[in-house]
Symmetry: C2
Subunit: 200 residues, 2 copies
């Protein structure tokens, strides 16, 4: 039985494919869109298409960007001696938002995950090794996620990059600022103790 | 400072305008869309535009529909003696989903809300009165939401429609099926007692 007009059902089906949006959420979004002025809805639709058509992958750092090389790779103001390695482009954007890191990036486009059959050769690791070899990089900061796959990847990168005499560091794991000890898992607590710094 | 490529920022801004979607949610959706194949993203974009271009308002019941008169108003299989009055088209679709009601609908396109300055003349009440006068309607079932505005509207409709000698009924308010007495507010509990039915 078909309750919705066909075009409305199609829109709900498309919206349901988005992450975190179920039947109820999709219905709510669809009715919201129907009520909005035509030009607002058009600008959403255009923005969706534009992002697919205009976003490229930077051939140097593999990040999503509007130009190749990307804004960061082509900037002379960035510190070319430090490369921050992240799993995905969004991790890079989040670090950029922080505004504290002024080095370069390298996006792995994933993470070593034996359970999902993803090995080092499936990631942009070879090109990272090449970059480290042929540029003035002194430190590689590994900012993969602090979970099992991220740690595996960090260990692997440490192993292959240390050969080149470059410093390999890992972002700190510890209690989130504003968090409370009692709500943190034991592994995080252990990492917080291991990574303690002297107060001066 | 601009962290995201321009087209990506535009998409995130557009997605943030959707109900229940904040900055983080919009970023998550945007990155999801970037990773999806082009044709899938195109079909979402097309569905958004199609729904705006093809959805009409039925001139009889005021529901969102692909044709005018809508599928229900033009059907000879529906019971023309009962009209269910709802606030919005989505309420109609939800009732249709239930599959138990076989009558017609009338969408008010809103609800009487003195606090928002919405009076009876802002709603499709005049056309409901006309429909009741000029059709074989025997019962008007008022299915506005059981909140203050919905109840106000129900009382108003009862007053103006009773003149025509038509039966005006109100959907039952009570404990939701699967709910528990202790979690229900007092007014709902009172309505559940008032609306009790004899067990036979």
């Amino acid at each position: 039985m078909q309750y919705y007009p066909e075009v409305l059902r199609q829109l709900i089906d498309e919206l349901k494919k988005l992450p975190g949006i179920g039947q109820k959420g999709a219905e709510r979004l669809a009715f919201f869109l129907i009520k909005r002025p035509h030009e607002n809805v058009k600008s959403l639709s255009d923005a969706i298409i534009a992002v697919k058509e205009k976003i490229k992958i930077c051939s140097s750092c593999n990040a999503l960007a509007e130009s190749d090389p990307c804004r960061i790779c082509s900037s002379s103001k960035r510190d070319a001696e430090r490369i921050c390695v992240v799993e995905e482009s969004n991790d890079m954007f989040f670090i950029e938002k922080m505004g504290e890191f002024n080095g370069m990036y390298h996006v792995l486009q994933g993470v070593i995950s034996p359970i999902n059959g993803i090995g080092p050769s499936d990631l942009k690791i070879e090109s990272l090794i090449e970059r480290v070899k042929h540029s003035p990089v002194k430190e590689v900061i590994i900012a993969t996620n602090p979970n099992m796959d991220g740690e595996t990847t960090a260990l692997y990168l440490h192993k292959v990059l240390s050969k080149d005499g470059v410093k390999v560091s890992r972002i700190a794991r510890g209690i989130p600022v504003g968090g409370e000890l009692e709500y943190v898992d034991e592994v995080t607590l252990m990492k917080a103790f291991e990574g303690r710094t002297e107060m001066k």
